[in-house]
């Protein structure tokens, strides 16, 4: 059996040419930095008006070949939910060829995903988890002025269509130093998509077959997607798991203060939980203290594996980055890590909690993640259920990810150490899911096909 795992990790020669002018930029292009933007969710109450809205917005949906020279002040990405496709009039014969998790919706997957307690769909914001979420639009710009221009373009697509309603808006923008609300530089690693033409930095791993992230090309098992149907709809499309998190920054700071013996120890515990220091410097390369120069250096801050840290003495087995992206850590296990990768487009929202403030100010702050991949059950759902909300794969029993897990006040976090390991108890939940949904992100031709659907047309 280990033989088949070896075959899986062996790259083949032929690299297909990706139709980058048809693939949405959001799939392949990193968001700008600094960034400003808005997520908008629309509900369609009339199929013809929905298709008109699509026709108008398509010219502003950026393709991935406009990579280095954006011709617009910003760009948009668009995704459609199961209910959205239905509202546009996509026939049932096509709808039923979509994957199960997409048809069911993310809320119905809560028990698999560990979305329980505070993260349960019953506590989500409207319209997440309801049939009213139809179209999700991500609008990215580099500054406030360009954002206003881009938002105006988006608005024109539906402002005079009474059966199209905006049911959700969320502004997002980069926090100082590109950090997340917990104070860690983030968005540092993404898989290297074969043939995408993206700049490859050391440590991004061997190229992963494009078919893992875009339909129409061979995936890591050599298969090319044969559904959903028809082919014109799926070609150059993909799926995205949309996740909105609220981050409890004050609770995080409190917990660190409680557990640590000194301010330095606070930083160390926090770094052990994440697997990186606040600057982004990985523990594997900087085990004792932060190294901001290393953290900021794209050519070095990913150039590491866990193969030389087999006891987890530098980076704990349970650290967030070692769980969600084990790199070479599981190389002796019967797990094909190449099947469990997805692209991450993360953004932060809300104001930062000023440094050293220990009390919650009640502000909404956190992150929104677009987790992109063709095989969501093997990708996001696998990582979420096996690697984030469980510990058995690293022989840690039910221990969960210290940052993303559902600690709920009785969580534990194990830090390997000699002669005696250190274990933290009473971990609260630092991150609560406030909404999520699966969206289909079609290629541009497919969007035009959808916009041209006639009432009663058969796929």
């Amino acid at each position: 059996m280990s033989k088949s795992a070896d075959i899986l990790s062996m790259p083949t020669d032929k690299i297909p040419v990706l139709e980058v002018s048809d693939i949405q930029a959001t799939v392949l292009r990193p968001r700008p930095s600094p960034y400003r933007g808005q997520y908008v969710v629309l509900r369609i109450d009339d199929a013809a008006q929905g298709r008109e809205m699509l026709r108008r917005i398509i010219p502003y949906i950026a393709p991935a070949d406009d990579w280095w020279l954006p011709t617009l002040p910003g760009w948009m990405g668009i995704g459609l939910t199961y209910h959205g496709l239905k509202a546009l009039g996509l026939p049932a014969t096509s709808l039923e060829t979509f994957p199960q998790e997409f048809r069911e919706g993310m809320a119905s997957r809560a028990s698999i995903l560990g979305d329980v307690g505070d993260s349960a769909p019953a506590n989500w914001e409207y319209p997440f988890g309801t049939p009213d979420m139809h179209v999700a639009i991500a609008i990215y710009s580099k500054d406030e002025e360009s954002l206003e221009t881009t938002l105006a373009l988006a608005r024109q697509s539906h402002h005079d269509l009474p059966m199209i309603s905006v049911v959700y808006r969320l502004r997002f923008s980069e926090l100082p130093n590109g950090c997340n609300p917990f104070g860690f530089r983030d968005g540092l690693h993404n898989p290297n998509v074969e043939g995408s033409g993206a700049v490859v930095h050391p440590g991004s791993g061997r190229p992963v077959k494009a078919g893992e992230f875009i339909m129409g090309y061979p995936d890591e098992l050599g298969a090319t997607a044969i559904s959903p149907e028809p082919e014109v709809l799926r070609r150059n499309g993909t799926f995205v798991a949309f996740r909105k998190f609220h981050m409890r920054v004050a609770a995080f700071r409190h917990y660190l203060r409680e557990q640590a013996s000194s301010p330095e120890d606070e930083d160390l515990i926090a770094a052990k939980m994440v697997g990186r220091w606040r600057s982004g410097a990985p523990l594997v390369l900087a085990a004792e203290q932060d190294d901001p120069e290393l953290g900021a250096d794209q050519d070095r801050n990913n150039a590491f594996g866990f193969g030389d840290d087999t006891h987890g003495l530098k980076c704990p087995f349970s650290a967030h980055i070692r769980r969600v992206n084990p790199r070479d850590a599981l190389r002796n296990e019967l797990v094909a890590t190449n099947l469990h990768q997805f692209l991450r487009r993360g953004t932060n929202y809300g104001p930062p909690l000023p440094e050293s403030v220990m009390e919650d100010d009640g502000a909404q702050r956190g992150g929104v993640f677009l987790l992109i991949g063709v095989h969501q059950r093997q990708q996001f759902e696998f990582v979420q259920s096996q690697w984030i909300t469980d510990g058995n794969f690293i022989s840690h029993g039910r221990e969960e990810d210290p940052i993303l897990g559902n600690g709920g006040g009785d969580g534990i976090f194990t830090i390997p150490k000699r002669p005696v390991r250190r274990r933290l108890h009473g971990l609260p939940q630092f991150v609560a899911v406030q909404g999520g949904e699966y969206c289909f992100m079609p290629g541009l031709r497919a969007l035009k096909w959808l916009a041209g659907l006639e009432a009663g047309a058969t796929a």
């Binding site: 150490k417 005696v420 390991r421 250190r422 274990r423 108890h425």
Partner: protein, 168 residues
């Protein structure tokens, strides 16, 4: 001869008889396939609706040699499989059921067609007639008994506590 005396004779007589069931290390598998009495399927389902929780869990734990057990109803509710993995020998396994929790066993098995009662002299012959030996049997820990595992878990808990105290 009283029933108890008779049972003793049967027990000692059968002690040297080869018993069905495959072995892996010191564990054995036990697979019993039987017809159900008419209409029994629903009654068995109701009986097991709460699973092995509460008193039933505690009672079954008292045997302390059973790794797991399951009841599976099949063939349009006409037949049932009872399967388990246990430590040690076949005779003791059956004797423990009869000695430790006879009422519980009778309650669970009386819907099996022809079941004579756990302390009936013919119980072992009835079991042998219904038991089917597995053609393949795997154990991840063939040398560990239920008691070994319980003890190891206890030690793990104690070591966890020790390590927490030592590192603070």
């Amino acid at each position: 001869m009283t029933v108890a005396q008779h049972a003793q004779v049967v027990k000692s007589a059968s002690a040297s008889i080869a018993r069905p069931g495959a072995k892996a290390g010191q564990t054995s598998e036990f697979t019993l396939i039987s017809k159900l009495k008419p209409g029994a399927a629903e009654r068995v389902r109701a009986l097991l609706a709460d699973g092995f929780t509460g008193e039933r869990q505690k009672n079954t734990d008292r045997i302390a040699t059973v790794h797991d057990l399951r009841f599976v109803i099949f063939d349009n509710d006409t037949r049932i499989i009872f399967a388990s993995t246990f430590d040690g020998g076949w005779e003791k396994y059956i004797d423990d059921f009869g000695g430790i929790i006879p009422d519980e066993i009778d309650l669970l098995f009386h819907e099996f067609e022809g079941y004579p009662g756990i302390n009936h002299p013919s119980i072992k012959d009835w079991i042998v007639a219904q038991q089917v030996t597995a053609v393949g049997f795997y154990s991840a820990y063939p040398s560990a008994s239920v008691r070994d595992i319980w003890k190891a878990l206890k030690i793990k808990g104690a070591v966890d506590t020790l390590l927490d105290v030592a590192s603070n």
